[in-house]
């Protein structure tokens, strides 16, 4: 037994040695930022490089879906690993605001109050406008839907791609917005049922964008940036701003409470809100800036200004409160219309 014991001891010691090596042992002196981002890698590396260049602070980006990011944040609460979270929807930011440290960004006044937190816990960086994407090879431009209500036509059966609202925040906003638009109550649910009957419900929003771009699904309940991005890259995609109204969802940035590098975090929030950076984001990936002082007509994509769209109010609090039951009802509808 002596040999077993010594063998195990040695193994244990080795493991211990590894354990100390394996933990993050970054020198504290180096100015540094850990960024959790739900944006795609192109945007992340562009912003990170620009920030390092401007401030001398190096950036470690952790990038994945916002659901996973918040799950990580919640799990790490006892000893936060991240400084900043960025690229997540305002509803998630509101819901998780207890994780954040308030900070009054320098240029916060350039951003409309409805797109930032009154207590400065988070601030909007860009807006996602709900749109319909149309593949013009599958459906000639003129023959597509113009309004949300056009999507109820049975001729679109199984031709509309829609992201599972249980997995996508914007998809949930879209469904609940339509419920409000159609007056709420049973008549609105009847319409939603008709709409869902026409859809293919996919598990991730990228599948909708891609499927619509490739013609896999002729129509997509989508986001403005995706349609513009695909069109920019020569995919036959038409972005339809529904005439019966739509919603602009803010995506924003927040500083993690007790994060390891609070000063770098503040610098990043100020940086990301700068006019030049917001323009750059628009140029590269069609993120509609939260700032209202940028001339969209002069920019690629030629986005219409918010004032030209029929932007409807969206009752965040109400739909947040009834989230679970609404989702259950949506899920039941989805399954019953298959």
């Amino acid at each position: 037994m002596g040999t077993v014991a010594s063998w195990l001891c040695r193994l244990g010691l080795a493991a211990l040695g590894f354990a100390t090596l394996g933990t993050s042992g970054r020198a504290a002196a180096e100015p540094h930022l850990v960024l959790y981002s739900a944006n795609d890698s192109t945007v992340n590396s562009m912003v990170a490089d620009a920030f390092t260049k401007a401030s001398g602070i190096t950036v470690d980006v952790i990038s994945t879906g916002s659901g996973v990011l918040f799950r990580r944040l919640v799990s790490e609460q006892a000893r936060p690993q991240a400084d900043v979270i960025w690229g997540v929807s305002s509803s998630l930011l509101k819901e998780n605001s207890k994780l954040f440290e308030p900070y009054a960004a320098k240029e916060r006044n350039a951003i409309a109050p409805e797109y930032r937190d009154p207590n400065n816990l988070w601030i909007g960086t860009n807006l996602q406008v709900l749109t319909i994407s149309q593949n013009t090879v599958a459906i000639p431009a003129a023959e597509g839907p113009k309004r949300w209500s056009d999507l109820l036509d049975p001729k679109w059966k199984e031709r509309i791609a829609y992201t599972d609202p249980a997995n996508s925040g914007s998809s949930y906003v879209n469904a609940t917005f339509l419920l409000s638009l159609w007056g709420g109550g049973d008549p609105a649910w009847t319409n939603i049922a008709k709409l869902l009957a026409n859809t293919r419900v996919l598990n991730r929003s990228t599948l909708v964008f891609e499927g619509n771009g490739s013609g896999e699904y002729p129509l997509g309940i989508s986001l403005e940036y995706a349609g513009l991005l695909w069109r920019q890259n020569n995919a036959p995609v038409l972005v339809v701003y529904p005439a019966d109204g739509t919603v602009a969802i803010a995506e924003g940035v927040a500083i993690i409470k007790d994060g390891p590098n609070p000063e770098a975090a503040k610098a990043f929030v100020d940086f990301i809100n700068q006019k030049g950076i917001q323009e750059q984001l628009l140029r590269s990936t069609f993120r509609r800036p939260a700032r209202q002082d940028i001339d969209l007509a002069a920019m690629p994509g030629h986005m219409p200004p918010l004032s030209a769209l029929k932007i409807m109010p969206y009752d965040d609090a109400k739909w947040e409160a009834s989230r679970r039951e609404t989702l259950t009802r949506l899920r039941t509808l989805i399954q019953s219309t298959r």
């Binding site: 933990t23 690993q81 997995n167």
Partner: protein
């Protein structure tokens, strides 16, 4: 049934050590995640989450879909794997060595990349579908249950093929000859003598297919469209953007683990009365068959293997297409590789380093565990065998988050470093190394170890100086299997990685989710190159020793 004194202590010590490791890095982290499924807000015990999940038609349907997909994949993988193993072991099929090597390759590809590539080829608007349609052939949809089961079958059948092949080879020729002497036809001999002997291997492999199909998230995420699947629902409830419900996710996870445990217990019950010492002294010879049969077997073997390599072909083909932003243009070009290699080689180095460490650690841990499981039948080893297979059934995301909660503060702190990734890989891939170690130990005569002990070496020294060298072939196989699957791991990586330890799969997922699916395909192609090569190499070595990966 013997519980020899000092060997018993050796076995017991290993079991306890392994249980301690799995307790610390599997059960303890999982408890943090799963306890919410049995506690209400005040912390009191409740099964409300289970009641809620089980009374929901949606989740019951989701469970049904997953079980159906698992069962069908298991059955089909066996239907493909067993005859394929037989043909490769006993028939003179041209190109057998190459076939054998290629047949173990499907495990290499991360399933989410494979599924993406398949959609581009066979989706509603896929290039193959469109070509077929223009020729007037209506191709079936790749989406839904049929597509998912097909993809699972074609990617997971190696789990059945590899152990079954080893089983066929381990059957002593005399047994079959004895049966044939007694007047049995070949088919009868197969059914009554050969198959019962290889049945435990088939079963073990089929079970892995079932569990893997149940837990897999990447394939249904792309191909399920709106059909609910358990692994997907767990992810959505756990880390979805809009409906996080950790209690329900925990309850579903426990259900999934429960299904696995039931299957494992059934397997144990079946194997309890069957012990086949398959110590072939003389391997069975090739069976001479008529030209027609040989042709048929050749077509079958090559057909299955090439079909299973389709996702690879798709990924590689797509990686060489030109992408404009996220949009595929079907123009050949090297842009994806250019863009990918413009970045850092770091993720590739990380992936290789992390997977190598994990493979070594999983083998060091898995070898003694597999040894004990093969040699000892006690209550402790029964518990160990179930706990050591559990990681296969636990969603990587759930395990990852559990590890974060458990090892983020206090001691030891592991988050943010590489060790936590290695730990996650070791835990998740341990079933593979344990199984391959067990498989090889089953082929070692216990009398060898007893001889060594009676010659004066303690059980520990006997294990290290005699058993380990005898196991080497199998251990190398298991190590490569862990290595290869660890390089393709994504679901726990995504919650555990830090930017310095970004892996290839993280890059692939980000590119695929973001705006550069072409780079994802290129990254996958590079990963395939880096993982398939050692796999083929080890296969050559193993073949010489007559060993097996599983």
């Amino acid at each position: 049934m013997t519980r020899p004194g000092s060997s018993g202590r050796f076995h017991g010590g290993i079991s306890l050590l392994a249980l301690a490791f799995l307790g610390l890095f599997l059960l303890y982290p999982l408890w943090f995640v799963l306890r919410s499924s049995v506690q209400d807000e005040a912390g009191a015990f409740t099964l409300a989450a289970y009641a809620q999940v089980l009374s929901s038609r949606y989740y019951v349907g989701s469970l049904g879909n997953s079980l159906a997909a698992g069962a069908m994949s298991m059955a089909l993988a066996s239907l493909i794997g067993v005859p394929l193993a037989f043909c490769l072991a006993r028939l003179d099929v041209p190109g057998r060595p190459l076939l054998l090597a290629l047949a173990s390759v499907p495990i290499v590809l991360p399933s989410f990349v494979g599924a993406y590539a398949l959609v581009l080829l066979f989706g509603h608007a896929g290039i193959v579908t469109a070509a077929l349609r223009s020729m007037g052939i209506a191709a079936g949809s790749i989406y839904g249950m049929a597509g998912i089961v097909t993809v699972f079958t074609l990617t997971l059948y190696p789990y059945v093929l590899l152990p079954t092949l080893a089983g066929f080879r381990a059957v002593d020729a005399s047994m079959e000859e004895a049966a044939r002497n007694l007047g049995a036809s070949r088919w009868h001999a197969f059914r009554t003598v050969l198959f019962p002997i290889v049945a435990p291997s088939v079963l073990a492999g089929a079970l892995l297919v079932f569990i893997e199909a149940l837990e897999n998230f990447g394939v249904p995420a792309v191909l399920a469209e709106d059909r609910p699947f358990l692994a997907l629902d767990i992810f959505k409830l756990f880390a979805g953007e809009s409906d996080p419900n950790v209690a329900a996710a925990g309850a579903l996870s426990v259900l999934l683990v429960g299904c696995t445990v039931v299957m494992l217990l059934l397997q144990r019950a079946y194997l309890a009365h069957r012990r086949f010492a398959t110590n072939a002294r003389r391997g069975a010879a090739l069976i001479p068959v008529s030209r027609r049969w040989r042709l048929l077997a050749t077509a079958f073997c090559w057909g299955v293997v090439l079909l299973s390599l389709l996702p690879f072909a798709a990924v590689v083909v797509i990686s060489f297409q030109h992408f404009q932003g996220p949009v595929l243009s079907w123009q050949p070009g090297l842009g994806n590789y250019r863009n990918l290699l413009k970045g850092s080689y770091r993720p590739l180095a990380n992936t290789l380093a992390l997977a190598s460490l994990a493979a070594v650690a999983a083998t060091v841990l898995g070898a003694p565990v597999g040894y004990v499981l093969a040699r000892q039948r006690s209550r402790v080893s029964a518990v160990l065998s179930i706990v050591a297979t559990m990681p296969f059934a636990v969603s990587g995301t759930v395990l990852g988050i559990g590890l974060v909660i458990a090892f983020n503060d206090g001691w030891p702190v592991l988050t943010g470093g590489w060790l936590i990734l290695v730990v996650a890989y070791v835990v998740r891939k341990l079933p593979l190394s344990v199984r391959s170690a067990s498989a090889i130990v089953h082929q070692i005569d216990p009398a060898l170890e007893e001889a060594s002990i009676s010659l004066g070496l303690s059980p520990t020294r006997t294990f290290l100086t005699l058993t380990v060298p005898l196991m080497l072939g199998g251990l190398a196989g298991g190590m490569v299997l862990v290595w290869v699957t660890a390089t393709a791991e994504i679901s726990s990586t995504i919650v555990l990685y830090s930017s310095r330890w970004t892996t290839m799969t993280v890059m692939m997922l980000q590119s695929l989710e973001g705006t550069a699916p072409g780079e994802a395909a290129a990254a996958a192609s590079i990963l395939i190159l880096f993982t398939a090569a050692p796999l083929l190499l080890v296969y050559r070595l193993l073949r010489r020793q007559g060993g097996s990966l599983l």
